[in-house]
Structures are given as structure tokens and as C-alpha cells.
């Protein structure tokens, strides 16, 4: 299948009073039409900034995309004017954010906010747009959708608001849906509803999905391929079963080992990753994970390894990747 999105050596930095924050440090990946890609990493690893860069929603100043290409269906989005970009956003790619309350306008009705996008991108009149909005709300599972168009965001619960956000994102049938931790603020039973909804909608509408999260459990359920990010770098990329079954980067191994599981009891201690992530202003010259890594060698301190293939569709950025072959995270 054709590539929908090709990211090449993308670099995004923030120029702050404390110095230059190296949020995204030259990442490259492809996304096929209709594929579901998971991006995992801890807070501050650059996962959100990387997709905000794709949408060109980085606040400038202080942020700036300083290098690389973002090819969406053969067009480099970095070269589009702001006006052209506005047509891409919403119509071709849409985003769902973490906290639905802050991304909906509290003084406008839900209906107004959905209708606005439909009129702008699809050229519908008010009546058509309202009908379509009601259809969309019904599609994301909001009961009595037509009656709720005139309700305000505060009249919906957290899970329902996130459904409204998804309806809004899907309003112009985008070919790419970017979900930035959409279930982090929700309870597990509501999270399960939202994950299943997105899965169902993707099968129905055939759009590609990039799902960003720190929760390796959600990704296991949803994604086909997974990218692991650390300190603004992609450290590992693989098909979902390959990644969980045969992780190769010491960070991925550490993360999987630090997760307890619901289905088996592990009596031993969890294998925590010692230390903490580096400051993105003062990134070490070598591999950013080296200070926390059990496999770290001399070269790791001075030189950043590049992302190299270790199997079919499996890439890892690690100098000591030969040593991690066959290493199982604890409890697996």
C-alpha cells in the first residue's frame, strides 16, 4: 500500500530563556494509508511535539521546525502557506487532544462547533451541516444525538466530550486521525469504550491513525506498528507483536519490565529503569539513554547510534543491540 505520510529527519526545537529545548531530534518514519501506528514514550520524550509538527501547530515563537521534510501524499507540508495548511488540517488530517474540556469552546454549543468545520471545509449550508453533525454524533455513540446538538460542553461527561471531539475530528472524513493521549484523562471503563470506538471507526472509514500514549497496554490492543521514543529520538520501531515479544532496545525492555500485568502475578520485584530522563536543553552527546542503561559501553557516551534494521520491519537505535538479542523483559 502507498505511504500516506513520510517523515524525514524532522527536527523541532523550542527557543526558551533557559536555552534551546531539543524536543524532536531528527526522526524519520512512514505511515501507510489506513494503518494504525502507535507512538509510545514518557512525558517529555517529544511524542506530542512530533505530531504537532506534522500538523504545523507548533507555537512559533518559541517553537520552530528547524529541519526535515513532512511529506503527506507527496506534498511537503513544510512548504505550504498557512492558508493552504488550513485546508489540509481538518479536511485531510485531524487531531483529538488529551483533555477534551480545554479543547472544546465552553461558550459555544457542540452543534455550533461541529457545524462550523463542515461549513468551512465542505461548503455545506446550515441545515445540511446540522443533519451531518447529528449523524456524526450518533456514529460516535452519543444517545439522542439530534437533541444534544444544542447542549454546551459542560453538559457532557468526560467520555462523552471525548466522543464529541472524535466526531468533530471525523467531520470532514480525514485520511489521517492523530490521537494525542485521548484516553489519559479518562477512567478505564470509559477508556475501553473510546478505544473500541476508534477501532470500529477506523475499520469502517479506512483512515490511518496515529495514536500517542504512554500506556503500553492500550497500544497492544490498538496498533499494528509501534514507535518508541526517548528524548526526542526514535529508539525502536517494530510490528506490535514483534515489539512486545522481542524488544531489542534496553529502554523498551526496561519499560515492559516495569509494567505489572493484570493476568499473571509476578512475585518478584518489578525491573524499574533507574534514574530519570535527561534534560532536553542539555542533551548528552551520545545516546541519551546511556546514563540509565545496563548495557552502556564507552561508545554510547560519545556517539548517537542510528536506527538500524534487526529484522523484518524491526529497527533499533542501539550500539549494543547484539547483546539484547533474546533478552526477555521480566515476567514475560
Amino acid at each position: 500500500m502507498a505511504n500516506l505520510l513520510e517523515i524525514r529527519d524532522l527536527k523541532t526545537q523550542f527557543f526558551t530563556q533557559d536555552g534551546v529545548v531539543h524536543a524532536v531530534n531528527g526522526i524519520s518514519y512512514d505511515l501507510q494509508e489506513g494503518e494504525c501506528l502507535g507512538i509510545v514514550g514518557e512525558s517529555g520524550c517529544g511524542k506530542s511535539v512530533s505530531v504537532l509538527s506534522v500538523m504545523r501547530l507548533i507555537p512559533d515563537p518559541p517553537g520552530k521546525i528547524v529541519g526535515g521534510e513532512i511529506n503527506f501524499r507527496g506534498r511537503n507540508l513544510r512548504q505550504l502557506s498557512e492558508e493552504e495548511m488550513r485546508h489540509v488540517r481538518g479536511a485531510e488530517m485531524a487531531m483529538v487532544f488529551q483533555e477534551p474540556m480545554t479543547s472544546l469552546n465552553p461558550v459555544l454549543t457542540i452543534g455550533f462547533q461541529i457545524v462550523e468545520a463542515l461549513k468551512l471545509h465542505q461548503g455545506m449550508n446550515t441545515k445540511e451541516a446540522r443533519e451531518r453533525a447529528a449523524e456524526l454524533l450518533a456514529m460516535v455513540g452519543i444517545p439522542q444525538a439530534a437533541d444534544r446538538l444544542d447542549d454546551y460542553p459542560h453538559q457532557f461527561s468526560g467520555g462523552m466530550r471525548q466522543r464529541v471531539m472524535i466526531a468533530m475530528a471525523l467531520s470532514c472524513s480525514p485520511s489521517l486521525l492523530i490521537a494525542d493521549e485521548p484516553t489519559t484523562a479518562l477512567d478505564v471503563t470509559i477508556q475501553a469504550q473510546i478505544v473500541d470506538l476508534v477501532k470500529r471507526l477506523r475499520d469502517k472509514l479506512g483512515m490511518a491513525v496515529i495514536w500517542i500514549t504512554h500506556d503500553l497496554g492500550v497500544i497492544a490492543r490498538l496498533a499494528e506498528r509501534v514507535i518508541v521514543m526517548y528524548a526526542g529520538y526514535i529508539v525502536e520501531e517494530a510490528e506490535v507483536k514483534e515489539l512486545y515479544g522481542y524488544p531489542r532496545h534496553p529502554y523498551t525492555i526496561g519499560l515492559l519490565g516495569s509494567l505489572p500485568r493484570l493476568d499473571v502475578r509476578i512475585d518478584a520485584k518489578l525491573t524499574s529503569v533507574r534514574g530519570q530522563p535527561p534534560d532536553l536543553v542539555y542533551l548528552p552527546p551520545g545516546c541519551p539513554f546511556a546514563p540509565r542503561c545496563d548495557y552502556s559501553a564507552e561508545r554510547c557516551e560519545s556517539e548517537m547510534p542510528s536506527l538500524e534494521a534487526v529484522g523484518v520491519g524491526h529497527k533499533v537505535a542501539c550500539w549494543e543491540k547484539d547483546k539484547t538479542e533474546g533478552v526477555r523483559p521480566y515476567g514475560r
Partner: protein
């Protein structure tokens, strides 16, 4: 019900209720209703064990924890600590008991005073209870910092100089200062990154072994609760619906809510996830100000019967040590 004395229980909670009043009017405030945050719960916490308390946000688990150690005074019910009823204690007696029970808070950013040094934060309980002063105080604080894995050299630093995981360690050191027997851990890891969560959980486990502590571990992460707890209580809308030893609860859940909750938790393993059946609950949790009559889960229960909306199910022992409040269990 649960045996009363001489069964190794350190804390016995009996019929505990905590209602927060809803008032109307500015000048003459009228009492128009109650938020039933904790509504008649009874359970024991045994010496040296970890009791997990799980539930979705707003189910009253935090209020229950705070009411047990009398940070909130209960509306009704008793809490026996080592045989003494805390709810009848006032002033000095209660303050004296507080040395034996401490709490670790959820948000390590909000629970440490930013204007105090680590030394004053950890040393404050020692000063208030006149346990140590001067040089002795400093030595004791250094000892505590070492115990929780922090460099004693940090004693004069301020909270903002630490990362989230380190701050939570400061919170743990403060809770340990008075050598308590019982610690309420109120979601101590939910604000932390995955790789740091395991560090804190391992620390809590080590301290429990070393110091013989008893924990009430409040959390919404069911996988972590299984890992750390000996027994687990599940709360829904102010009530405990099921209580059992943790392996039994996870392998043989009885209450329909527990079943749904467990099935909603994603497992970080795509091979397992592919085969799992999920019970997706419809709708949202009702408001605790106006819980439905009968069993308060009847609005979302997939196996609801007529009796469920008429009569409240009793919390009874179905199998030895396995308690459940559901009409389905009692009709069999």
C-alpha cells in the same frame, strides 16, 4: 460480618459514612442534599498486609482513605485502630494516634511546600511531635532520606529542584518520619511516568519488608494493585462491592462491576489482547448526590434483575474471605 477483634486486624472500619452537604443560598444557606462520597463501608486491614482499594474516579476511594485516618471526620460509623475508636477521639489523644498513621499523597508537586527545604519538610513531623531537635533532628532526617534512596546531601534543597519520582520519595520520607505502623498510600504513583512508577512501588515494598508496615494502597491502576496488594477491595459509588485476596479477585471475580472493570484494563501483550473478551459498560457513573435506588450499579449492570432496583444487596461472605454485594450471588 468480618470478625470483630483478635483476628490480627490493625484497622477495623465499621459502617463508615462520609457525606458532604450540598447547600443553596448565600445568606441563609439551606441544606438541600448530600454527596454520599463514602456510604456505609466496613472492612478490616490486617497487620503487615497491603490492602488495595480500587475504583474509578469519584467512587470515594480517596475520601475513604482520608476519613479512616481522620483527616475528614466521618458522618457515621467507627474506625478502630488497634482496638481504639478514632472517631471518638479529639485533640491531644487523636494527635498522639496520628504518629502511628500517616499518608502519602497523589500529587508530589502539590503536596510539598515549595518554600520549605527538604530538611524542613521531612523534619516537620519530628518537631511537631517533639521527637527530635537540633543535631539529632538533622541526623534523623538524613537517615530518612537515605532510607528512601535520596542523597542526604540534598537536605537543604527545595522541592522544585527534584523530579517527580524524587519528590514522591520525599513524600515517603515524611510519612516515615514518625515511624508509623500504618500508611495510607493515596494514588502515590499515578502522577509519575511508567519507568519511575516501578521505582516507587519497589521502594514501598522494600520499606514494608524492612519496617513491617501496613498499607492501604489506593489506586485506579488495577495491574499495579494486583502486583502490590495482598487483598483488594473494589469500590463503586461510595460502596465496596467486592473484597477478596488479590489472586482470587483477579482470577475469580464475582461482582459484575469487578468483571467489567478487569476486562477493561488493557494487558501489555498484543497476543493476549487479541483473544480477550471485553465487557464494555454502557454509560457513565451516576452522580453520588443522587445514587439510583437499590443496588447503585443497576443502571449500568449487564446482568441486571428486577430486584436490583428495589433492594440494596448485602455485603456478604460468599466464599471464605471473599465478600461481595450482589443479588446475583445471594439468589444462588
Amino acid at each position: 460480618m468480618v470478625g470483630n477483634t483478635g483476628n490480627g486486624a490493625l484497622v477495623q472500619v465499621r459502617g463508615l459514612k462520609k457525606y458532604f452537604p450540598i447547600t443553596r443560598g448565600v445568606v441563609f444557606s439551606r441544606h438541600v442534599g448530600d454527596i454520599k462520597a463514602v456510604d456505609d463501608v466496613s472492612f478490616d486491614i490486617y497487620q503487615g498486609e497491603t490492602l488495595g482499594l480500587v475504583g474509578e474516579s469519584g467512587c470515594g476511594k480517596t475520601t475513604a482513605g482520608r476519613t479512616i485516618i481522620q483527616l475528614y471526620r466521618p458522618t457515621a460509623g467507627e474506625v478502630y485502630y488497634d482496638g481504639q475508636d478514632l472517631t471518638r477521639m479529639r485533640g491531644n489523644d487523636l494527635r498522639h494516634m496520628r504518629r502511628r498513621m500517616q499518608i502519602i499523597f497523589q500529587d508530589p508537586y502539590a503536596s510539598l511546600n515549595p518554600r520549605l527545604t527538604v530538611g524542613s519538610i521531612v523534619g516537620e513531623p519530628l518537631e511537631i511531635h517533639r521527637v527530635a531537635r537540633g543535631k539529632e533532628l538533622r541526623e534523623r532526617v538524613e537517615e530518612l532520606l537515605q532510607l528512601v534512596g535520596l542523597n542526604p546531601y540534598f537536605i537543604n534543597r527545595y522541592p522544585h529542584e527534584f523530579s517527580g519520582g524524587q519528590r514522591q520519595r520525599i513524600g515517603v520520607a515524611r510519612a516515615l518520619a514518625l515511624e508509623p505502623d500504618f500508611i495510607v498510600c493515596d494514588e502515590p504513583i499515578s502522577a509519575l511516568d511508567v519507568s519511575i512508577q516501578a521505582q516507587i512501588v519497589n521502594l514501598l515494598e522494600e520499606l514494608q519488608e524492612k519496617l513491617g508496615l501496613t498499607y492501604l494502597f489506593i489506586a485506579h491502576d488495577l495491574s499495579m494493585v494486583r502486583h502490590i496488594s495482598d487483598r483488594v477491595a473494589v469500590m463503586y459509588l461510595g460502596k465496596i462491592v467486592e473484597l477478596s485476596n488479590s489472586d482470587e479477585l483477579y482470577e475469580n471475580p464475582l461482582h459484575p462491576y469487578t468483571k467489567a472493570l478487569l476486562s477493561a484494563v488493557p494487558i501489555p501483550d498484543p497476543v493476549v489482547e487479541e483473544k480477550r473478551q471485553r465487557i464494555i459498560l454502557e454509560g457513565d457513573v451516576p452522580s453520588p448526590a443522587n445514587p439510583p435506588p437499590g443496588c447503585n450499579f443497576n443502571t449500568r449492570c449487564p446482568v441486571v434483575m428486577d430486584v436490583c432496583s428495589e433492594e440494596e444487596p448485602k455485603f456478604v461472605e460468599i466464599e471464605p474471605g471473599h465478600f461481595c454485594a450482589c443479588h446475583l450471588m445471594q439468589s444462588q
